[in-house]
């Protein structure tokens, strides 16, 4: 059945300044609703996808036009380095956005060109193995030297 009508809950409507009316309502709804969460999530994934797609499209177009490969080989690492430095120095949304771009473009270059990376690895397998061995040997040597210096017996 009906509940007793309590007019006091409408007292704020009688306030003299319109802003009071606005403010009261704004402070009453601080929490996010589900639909707002949905739009935030979708917007963030859409932004990531946009950067990913831009990186992927650019890399594929460069592969289709071999004359562009030298320029890309110079420009992409340079831009990545600049963006990485910026992400270290920036604050707030700029930092997050630059990290997002690095992550998305990096993922796109690796995942979207897996066949090229595969072919490159096979073509340079001997060089890669030698480099890997040198790195391992160097690191092992340095580590043992440091370890021995740190553990000099009294």
């Amino acid at each position: 059945m009906y509940s007793e009508f309590d007019a006091s809950e409408f007292d704020y409507l009688n306030s003299a300044i319109p802003q009071q009316f606005e403010q009261q309502n704004q402070t009453q709804t601080p929490e996010l609703t589900n639909i707002e969460r949905f739009w935030n999530l979708t917007g963030n994934w859409g932004e990531f996808g946009s950067y990913f797609g831009a990186g992927l499209s650019a890399s594929l177009i460069v592969r289709a036009i071999p004359a562009m490969i030298p320029a890309a080989v110079i420009l992409i690492p340079a831009a990545s380095l600049g963006l990485a430095l910026y992400s270290l120095s920036a604050e707030g949304s700029g930092k997050v956005r630059s990290q997002l771009i690095l992550l998305a473009v990096g993922t796109a270059l690796l995942a979207g060109n897996w066949d090229a990376w595969q072919a490159w690895i096979i073509a340079n397998s001997q060089l890669l193995i030698l480099s890997f061995a040198l790195i391992v040997i160097t690191v092992a040597f340095v580590a043992t030297q440091v370890w021995s210096k740190l553990n000099v017996s009294e």
């Binding site: 979708t42 994934w45 990913f52 289709a64 072919a119």
Partner: protein, 532 residues
């Protein structure tokens, strides 16, 4: 559950874009050559094939498709991001608007409740006043007794007793005759706004829902105009046999071409009259009224209906031509599809909107005897509510015909084969024949309210829910004692307390009416116990 349509769209685009990226990523870009070298069979891009290899086959790459898919998916992602960001900004605003709307609804509900409580309080105050009047009556009776006069005997002289009939006790000299011009079947009550004299307006629109009495009002107006010397032509595609008595009827049997031709004749007549006005010093014309019934249907069937409507609103006043439109609506589509004529319609038409209601017993549409009247040029919001009262007699009211003989109602009005739906049920507003409503002030002494048949007539109307609550101010029977008698008749029907209280005081149980309902129940108990 989706909150709005864009959620589905964005979800779909996002899914398609992900599928596009998956395709663009999974496919290989370059052609691959399958070759044999030594005992091994390998497959590599062309630039990795050793010079000494033996060619075996070629596998085509999908570079073009990969680029296309990648671009499409990127576009999808950008679209998703833009829509989602925009919706994310708008959503809090939407929610605030929704909250304001909810508050406004609650506030409106509160205002409505307050209004109802105020109205009820007013009604109870009037009831209290009525009780006071009754109390004064008792004092008067005591005073009569002190003088040796029997007040009961005095009162009974005014009532029907034994075999006395209405005619035997009524004094013809007491009857109040209506004024000469007021012979229409429907006319305003004296205490409310009045219906203007319709012949002063060249173009009139009578509209309203089915069963609200449009055609009836039009016919009564025609009767007056014919008496005033008008030539009347009725354009009615649905005219029945012998309807529009004494009028020229055009278009019966849905003969729209004939109506179209008559509209052309109307235009020609207007032109002829204006030519006479130009050429003669003081030409006289017979007034000519066109009645356009079922005008709603003409738009798509009569080519000239729009032009006719326009001419009727602008060209006919000086030519003594008159038009009465009868339609279901006042929209331009319902008025001959007269596009672009809204301002002219508002400025030139006298509009009478008749109100109807649903009869709770028969579930048929019946008139409410109320009309909203908009004078030409008046805004729609300034329409006046005019209460209408039936004055013409139902076709079976033969006993009243003799007493009506002196009125100005045209003689054919009681012979017509149409009646307003409520006319056969009790004849409440005219229980004693002509002039009953005009002599309302003298009802304390009138003959009608004392008769059992009258009370029974009221009773049937009350039980049919076609009258306001018995103890409300609007109830046609004004005498408190008679109301009490009638209330006892209602109680004797054993309808249950709730229904009885509803019929007597118009209050239902529950909610904010609890106090009023409790009061009404107490009064009902008093009535049942024989107290008044």
């Amino acid at each position: 559950m989706l909150a709005n349509r864009n959620q589905a769209i964005v979800s779909g685009i996002l899914s398609l874009s992900i599928v596009g990226f998956a395709g663009a990523t999974a496919l290989q870009f370059n052609d691959r050559i399958e070759y044999r070298i030594g005992n091994r069979i390998e497959s590599q891009p062309a630039w990795l094939v050793p010079p000494k290899a033996e060619f075996r086959a070629i596998e085509r790459g999908y570079g073009g498709i990969k680029i296309l898919l990648s671009l499409l998916a990127t576009g999808g992602m950008i679209t998703t991001m833009l829509i989602a960001r925009r919706e994310g900004e708008q959503e809090p605003v939407r929610q605030r608007i929704k909250k304001y709307q909810e508050k406004a609804y609650e506030f409106g509900f509160a205002a409505e409740s307050a209004y109802q409580m105020s109205t009820l309080a007013n009604r109870y105050k009037k009831l209290a006043d009525a009780d006071e009047v009754a109390f004064e009556g008792e004092i008067e009776a005591a005073y009569c007794e002190s003088l040796g006069i029997d007040p009961q005997q005095q009162q009974q002289q005014q009532l029907l007793t034994g075999t006395a009939t209405l005619e035997s006790i009524s004094n013809p000299g007491d009857k109040v005759q209506p004024s000469a011009a007021q012979s229409a079947a429907l006319e305003p009550k004296e205490e409310s706004a009045k219906l203007p004299k319709l012949t002063n307006y060249p173009a009139i629109l009578i509209h309203g829902p089915q069963g609200s009495g449009k055609s009836f009002l039009a016919e009564e107006e025609i009767a007056q105009r014919k008496a005033a010397g008008h030539k009347v032509t009725a354009l009615d595609p649905h005219a029945g046999f012998n309807s529009w008595r004494d009028c020229e009827v055009i278009g019966a049997g849905m003969d729209y071409p004939a109506i179209d031709a008559e509209l052309a004749e109307f235009a020609a007549e207007v032109k002829r009259r204006y030519e006479r006005i130009r050429n003669e010093p003081n030409p006289t014309f017979q007034p000519w009224t066109f009645v356009c019934d079922e005008f709603t249907n003409w738009a798509s069937r009569c080519k000239t209906s729009g032009d006719f409507f326009q001419a009727a609103l602008s060209d006919i006043r000086k030519a003594k031509m008159y038009v009465i439109f009868v339609s279901h609506a006042r929209t331009l589509a319902g008025l001959g599809d007269a596009k672009g004529m809204a301002a002219t319609r508002d400025a030139a038409l006298l509009e009478i909107e008749l109100l109807g209601k649903i009869d709770p017993v028969t579930t048929e549409a019946v008139p409410r005897f109320e009309a909203l009247v908009k004078l030409p040029g008046q805004p729609l919001s300034d329409r006046k509510l005019v209460k209408l009262v039936r004055k013409s007699e139902p076709k079976n009211a033969t006993t009243n015909e003799a007493s009506d003989a002196k009125t100005d109602i045209p003689s054919n009005s009681s012979e017509k084969d149409y009646t307003l739906p409520e006319q056969d049920s009790g004849n409440l507003l005219n229980p004693c024949g002509t002039g009953a409503e005009a002599s309302e002030g003298a009802e304390g002494a009138d003959c009608a309210e004392g008769s059992d048949s009258l009370l029974n007539g009221f009773l049937s109307e009350i039980l049919a829910d076609s009258l306001p609550p018995l103890f409300s101010n609007d109830f046609p029977l004004k005498s408190h004692e008679r109301r009490v008698q009638l209330a006892k008749l209602v109680i004797a029907q054993n309808l249950g307390k709730q229904r009885t209280i509803w019929l007597l005081w118009g209050v239902r149980d529950g909610g904010r009416n609890h106090k009023q309902y409790a009061d009404a129940r107490a009064m009902l108990e008093r009535l049942i116990n024989g107290e008044e």
